[in-house]
Subunit: 153 residues, 2 copies
């Protein structure tokens, strides 16, 4: 029963993972507050995400060079590079575990493999998706930064 | 514990739903076997999907006018229109419950709502994705139909 439910839960929709979604929201937050260091505790409250989950995301963003983690008592997080140099496509590619929209190996393997043109068509469509996001930087996402600061407090 | 696991299971990847994936595989199958009527029983075995699951997909494809269901003892399923008139983008749009790649209402609501430019950027990127698939028809997916027939038997 649980298994069945799990199976259905993975079917709900075509969505970015929460990892990618929160990475982008977090980077946006650091971009609209460039003069402050942010703590995990504060961010966790602001985005209503567990510290544990946020920590995993932050660790990855630090390793990937998007975020600097300043140690010490008054330490915290800040962007590691200018907001106009962070492309949304790069964050999506770095954080999504895969951009393969179909799984040829699921349910015992698809009988069309390896001659299937569907997979190729979807790969090309995903490229078009990323190419669009190549032209969007973190700076574009927070162009209305005063309004965002007001919203997040 | 189950809840936690469920939560993680939805995070695995950016994927088309199984509904969409199997809709496309099914339509491809009907396209490479234009002179036969296919039964749910046979298709279920071929794609290793439960009859129950397949039935739901087929019902939707019939209602949407992609498939004809011929009743009676020797009845079965066939394409309801020419394969070169079925655009992959249309099937994806018809079968995916949403093409919104982020959920602004999850986890108590995103603080950036409604001033967020991320959602708009992702909507435009999804449009680019679908526009690519506008140019791909079911006929393009089965252009190597002899090879596919050999693979599926």
């Amino acid at each position: 029963m649980v298994i069945r439910w799990l199976f259905q839960s993975t079917e709900l929709q075509l969505r970015l993972t929460k990892h990618t979604d929160y990475s982008l929201r977090l980077l946006m937050y650091l971009a609209i507050k460039p003069d402050e260091l942010q703590t995990i505790k504060d961010l966790s409250g602001r985005f209503n995400v567990s510290r544990n989950h946020l920590m995993k995301i932050v660790n990855k963003l630090v390793i990937l060079g998007y975020i600097d983690s300043v140690r010490g008592r008054n330490g915290g997080l800040r962007l590691a590079k200018p907001k106009d140099s962070i492309r949304v496509s790069a964050v999506v590619e770095d954080m999504e575990p895969t951009l393969e929209l179909v799984d040829c190996e699921a349910d015992g393997g698809c009988p069309y493999y390896p001659s299937c043109k569907l997979k190729l068509a979807l790969q090309d469509a995903s490229k078009a998706f990323l190419e669009f996001l190549d032209g969007v930087t973190l700076a574009d996402l927070v162009v209305n930064d005063k309004q965002l600061v007001k919203l997040v407090g």
